[in-house]
């Protein structure tokens, strides 16, 4: 396995992919899948950065303060993220589109603010109880938890991703997978098929949170420091871009998106100060020419047709709001 990974990295080095970059690529592939699951179910949830933060902090505290091995931390981080997803999902998943998006971004921001203030908060409670000023430190606010050993290895990530891919293939052939697609296309009709829409949405939301939590644990043990700054709005936007640029019509798209978008800035280092401009340009151009994402057959066939001069159909309806009533 190790030899295989090293060989792969040797091949990738000329385009700027060293082992740590490779590892971040894999972590981001997991994140891409995490948001893909909710998107696939028609949920525009952007809570992933928040769950990633929860996973990262729980995981790191487990290895640092409780001396658990990475595997234990992984389980812990995933369970914590999944458990927190339950009370968050039940009220919020009733919201739609942008309202769900902003509510879940709000959740992420609240998580971030809680992490920033956790120590102070506990400290001030202790101060009240004990009657003298107490300084409490566990998660260190903006300072971050430092000195985390680098426990994540490439093969952990590859193995995790392989298992995940197997799970996803099976998901697509299951009742749950079909129910997710149905809910995305028409919630009302889905309910008429006997699908418990609320239940399915919550299950998917929890699965998504668990994956984000796992990515958090892995990432914390790669970056060696976890700070709340790393899990802000920017991160959320990045994660969304992984999935959509990769293409959300199959689970393979978000994986590719995570890999490519992580590698891209590293591969573009030779551009020096023009790097950012090109990153933006690439994102823009790719999505404009392949609106369905990199991994999407219709996207590519339309793209190819453009250059073989076959006319396209002009925009079709449904650019506006959702359908009228349930007549």
């Amino acid at each position: 396995m190790d030899a295989l990974i090293n060989g792969l990295i040797e091949i990738l080095k000329p385009i700027g992919i060293t082992e740590p970059v490779f590892q971040f690529m894999l972590v981001n592939a997991i994140l891409g899948v995490s948001i893909y699951l909710t998107l696939y179910c028609g949920l525009f949830s952007l809570a992933n950065a928040g769950f990633m933060a929860i996973g990262a902090y729980v995981g790191v505290i487990l290895t640092q303060s409780f001396d658990l091995p990475l595997f234990g931390a992984l389980l812990g981080g995933m369970i914590a993220a999944g458990l927190i997803a339950i009370p968050i999902g039940i009220p919020t998943l009733r919201l739609r589109d942008i309202y769900l998006a902003i509510a879940t971004i709000g959740f992420g921001e609240i998580v971030r603010i809680m992490i920033l203030n956790f120590d102070d908060f506990v400290g001030s409670i202790l101060t009240l109880v004990q009657g003298e000023r107490v300084r409490f430190t566990l998660i260190e606010g903006a300072r971050g938890i430092k000195g985390i050993p680098k426990l994540t290895e490439s093969w952990h990530l590859i193995l995790f991703l392989l298992i995940l891919m197997f799970f996803l293939t099976r998901l697509h052939h299951s009742r749950l997978g079909r129910a997710m697609t149905a809910i995305r296309q028409d919630e009302i009709a889905a309910a008429s098929m006997g699908i418990n829409v609320v239940y399915v949405k919550n299950v998917v939301f929890i699965m998504s949170a668990i994956l984000a939590g796992a990515a958090g644990v892995f990432s914390g043990h790669l970056t060696r420091i976890v700070t709340p700054q790393a899990f802000g709005f920017d991160k959320t936007v990045d994660i969304l871009a992984f999935a959509v640029l990769g293409g959300t019509s199959t689970w393979f798209g978000p994986i590719v998106g995570g890999l490519v978008l992580t590698a891209l800035p590293e591969s573009l280092r030779f551009l020096k100060e023009y790097r950012g401009v090109f990153t933006g340009l690439v994102l823009l151009v790719v999505i404009v020419y392949l609106p369905g994402g990199l991994i999407n057959t219709t996207s590519w066939s339309k793209f190819i047709r453009r250059f073989t001069n076959r006319p396209e159909s002009p925009p079709d309806e449904n650019s506006g709001h959702s359908t009228t009533r349930a007549n």
């Binding site: 903006a142 300072r143 700070t227 709340p228 700054q229 590293e266 020096k272």
Partner: protein, 376 residues
């Protein structure tokens, strides 16, 4: 202490502890990791400029011997830990640099420095002020004074001179730089038995500090203690004055930027900063650096630039003394540097690879900094 450094004949690049080197290849590469994009590029950009300035001077003066050029391979980390790791890996593994400057932020350093340590390559923080940076290993250095070496002196001096009893504290709590500053301030205030009548926080990118300031000012403090970065500091100072606050404003590193004085104008009167370096520093090396920098880049340098500039010179000196591009020998030579004349003053590395030099405490008056207590 300042005056001792300011002896006329001391010049940068003339640290004569080591003879001119003879065994260096034509090109020696060091790496540099700075935040060149994103909001931190304000700092990273001038750091990178300062390093270029130092390298030009080093190469022109033949500091590393005839025909030897010291070059920096500079990588952008955008303030992001993951990118810093990637950049560090690229520099030490692919580019095979002999040593690395940076990264700009302490949080990035905690991510990236272990990579250098594991590869036996020196890394020198030139703006990392958090606690515990050099604990990461014997290859990890910094030339930036941690806040803990600057602020206690600032508070002590201010207390004696201004007779402080009660202060309000305003700090950014989502940034490890301003938060570390806050930690040290609180400790120093406690040590000096000063009462904290109120604590308020803000977040990076906040623009309106009126609510917090209004609350703090309502308590009629003797001074406002502010731990902020430059952009927010300008707003805090002007808004505090606009709200009618006239007392002293005591700040750390972040307030110590020429832009702060320039932009807050009148309002800056009474701003007290303790810092590793200040543009008003009268020492000749410091003046010369500020002049050269302004000439090259049409902007006044800040403390981060001065530290980056010094960092490049320190590496040049270590390479000169090691007379080798062997990473371990360079590390050893670096650790041995004592009393190196620099814009920061006479500079030495402590046993734990932290910097030793005198900080400065200044007060702003009529748009200029003057040494606190010595002002007219």
């Amino acid at each position: 202490a300042q005056d001792e450094v300011a002896t006329e004949d001391v010049q940068i690049g003339f640290w004569d502890e080591c003879p001119a080197p003879e065994n260096l290849p034509e090109t020696v590469s060091i790496g540099a990791i700075f935040g060149l994009s994103g909001p931190i590029s304000v700092y990273g950009g001038s750091q990178s400029q300062a390093v270029e300035l130092a390298l030009t001077e080093i190469n022109e003066s033949g500091y590393l011997g005839e025909g030897v050029t010291l070059v920096a391979i500079t990588e952008d980390s955008a303030g992001d830990g993951e990118q810093a790791i990637a950049a560090m890996t690229k520099l030490v593994e692919e580019d095979q640099v002999v040593a690395v400057l940076g990264p700009t932020l302490s949080t990035e350093a905690f991510s990236a420095d272990p990579v250098a340590q594991e590869n036996g390559t020196s890394v020198m923080g030139v703006s990392n002020t958090a606690i515990g940076i050099t604990d990461m290993g014997d290859y990890v250095f910094r030339d930036s004074l941690p806040e803990s070496s600057v602020i206690p002196g600032t508070i002590a001096q201010a207390t004696t001179i201004l007779g402080l009893e009660r202060v309000g504290v305003l700090y950014g709590n989502d940034d490890d730089f301003t938060l570390s500053g806050y930690d040290v301030f609180v400790q120093a205030l406690e040590d000096n038995n000063i009462e904290i009548i109120g604590e308020e926080t803000f977040a990076r990118g906040d623009v309106d500090f009126n609510p917090q300031l209004t609350s703090l000012i309502a308590g009629e403090p003797d001074a406002l203690v502010v731990s902020a970065l430059a952009a927010e500091a300008v707003q805090i100072i002007t808004q505090a004055r606009a709200l009618g606050y006239e007392g002293p404003i005591i700040g750390g590193n972040g307030l110590n930027s020429p832009a702060v004085l320039e932009q807050s104008g009148e309002a800056s009167n009474g701003v007290i900063v303790g810092a590793a370096w200040n543009i008003a520093n009268p020492a000749p090396l410091s003046v010369e650096f500020a002049m050269n920098f302004e000439e090259a880049y049409e902007a006044a340098p800040d403390q981060f630039a001065a530290q980056a500039y010094t960092g490049a010179w320190l590496y040049a000196t270590a390479i000169r003394c090691a007379d080798s591009v062997d990473r371990t020998e360079i590390r050893d030579a670096l650790a041995a540097i004592q009393d190196f004349p620099s814009p920061l003053g006479l500079f030495s590395f402590a046993e734990d690879r932290n910097p030793i030099h005198d900080p400065v405490v200044q007060i702003a008056q009529d748009g200029k900094f003057a040494v606190l207590g010595a002002e007219e």
